[in-house]
Symmetry: C2
Subunit: 314 residues, 2 copies
């Protein structure tokens, strides 16, 4: 068994969080991950309070294990979402795109474990000072919204910057990645892309097929010119978008090109209009399994590798 | 002692290569690294045959240990450089920017160990098929010319793609990085940025000071629009260049903006015109040490971490 302070802190068996993926991470996926011993995460990216509450209630019918909710701090209705999560007393909250400082007292009072996702050591420090319980250091090889720093460079620098537990995210999809994260100083991992092909993940067939077919070089970052880069699988759409960024197209038109494209991928599986978010590690994801199979396999691999690490030293 | 097939293959004590850094990796640095038990690498990026031969000869007066030469396959005079290296029977050649296949028979005949640097699993496969002895999988967090894939995502995918030894590069500057690389499946590492502040590294004072002062977020990638992105420390110049890429400036003018900027950094320490290449891990490089101190420290840390890896499994 691999067990760390992240397990104690959140009441889970494996030190593994499922990434909060907008329009993807619903009650079904989160409950499956939590039932399998990880920390499932529901995305609150819709900004629809009634819908988020319904997902939380639904997850509670599907699991009696702890699960969390992910809040994009630059999204819509953040104050209302924050209050809802306190009211619902979810086990944990992960946050993206900023410092959740102003919500932390309210969340802590509700018994919520607060774990911000950060792209830099300086934001990690601010979040720790603000009362965060742990930090997710997420490298830019991850899918969806990405920062500049990579997991290999970011994790040790965040570990040096804060005294609270650090969870590594970005580029992790098997036991090798978990073991590497531990060597860098992390005491837990977050995985997103590998759960895209989980049997309990409710995304379109076309989306799953794209992840299964992906090679190492199959993803691309777009949106850098607008200051909010996202990583997705290369398609005619994403390549065209990347090219457009170097043209005289206005920022508004560029912004409009992206509207509705995630929904088109997740719900409709629209190969032409869809933006299929995924991390660079998609190239290693080539089977559909249950969340329990994924987590069991990843940690069995990690145990083997960590148990064998000594062999390199003679 | 950490010793792997990379040590046997190249006749070195530690499975560590020094990155071939254009206009930086000279005989002095390479010999210092080789004397310390790593594999020092002279850069052949100047394209000047007489000068490259002189550096090789000089290194031989400074060390009796094996060292290598790095060849940029898209550089100048590559055929002549390749022939020179065969004539000089250097211990090893590392190559960048392509598949060195056509030179491999000549190099192997001269007893040279051939280790291409690759940014993808597909190029790794081609190089292995072409007769390479090992592969350096280099993540885009490294300094200088960079690929898209990060070390965390690239190394395991390259390991799955080839049967020859894999060396990890990009984002590695201490024992944590070395231990993580081994968990990902690598059997050696290449470090560049950490050697920028080696006492034996002959770069300008301003360059060293910029590396020493760097934080995790201090680097930036420019040149993506032209198809040959490079990572350097953020300066007024590199920020202006990155902005210019999104303007209507012609590709020729953009290309011209970069001419002479590496030399201005390395030789002149020109803060205004210089392009100070460095990796994301520069934020962790904050001391000037000899190459021997660096290598000794990094491997002592890595040994400790690998010996303690088992503790995570209960």
């Amino acid at each position: 068994m691999i067990t760390t302070s992240v397990c104690e802190m959140t009441g889970i068996k494996y030190p593994l969080l499922q990434g909060g993926m907008a329009h993807i991470s619903d009650a079904a996926l989160a409950a499956a991950v939590s039932n399998a011993g990880g920390l499932g995460i529901i995305s609150a990216a819709s900004g629809n309070i009634a819908q988020i509450e319904a997902e939380i209630d639904k997850a509670r019918t599907l699991t009696d294990k702890p699960f969390g909710v992910n809040v994009m701090l630059m999204g819509q209705n953040v104050d209302e979402i924050a209050a809802l999560l306190a009211k619902k007393k979810v086990a944990a909250v992960t946050t993206g795109a900023g410092n959740p400082e102003r919500y932390i007292p309210m969340w802590k009072e509700a018994g919520i474990t607060v774990i911000p996702v950060v792209p830099s050591a300086s934001l990690a420090k601010l979040c720790a000072r603000g009362g965060a319980d742990a930090i997710i250091a997420e490298g830019g090889e991850s899918g969806g919204h990405v920062g500049d720093l990579t997991t290999m460079a970011l994790v040790p620098q965040v570990c040096d910057a804060v005294d609270i537990p650090v969870i590594a995210a970005g580029g992790i999809a098997d036991g090798r990645g978990v073991a590497a994260a531990f060597m860098l100083g992390a005491v837990g991992v977050q995985m997103g892309t590998r759960f895209l092909t989980a049997k309990e993940c409710n995304i379109s067939r076309a989306y799953k097929d794209k992840v299964l077919a992906a090679k190492d070089t199959s993803t691309i970052v777009t949106g850098k010119r607008l200051g909010h880069p996202v990583r997705s699988i290369k398609t005619a759409f994403s390549r065209a978008y990347a090219k457009a960024e170097y043209t005289q197209i206005s920022n508004d038109d560029l912004e409009n090109m992206a509207v509705g494209t995630l929904r088109a991928a997740v719900v409709d599986g629209d190969e032409k209009k869809g933006c299929f978010l995924a991390g660079q590690i998609a190239g290693m994801v080539n089977r559909e399994q249950t969340a329990a199979e994924i987590i069991g396999e990843v940690f069995a691999e990690a145990e083997n590798i960590l148990n064998g690490a000594e062999k390199w030293v003679k």
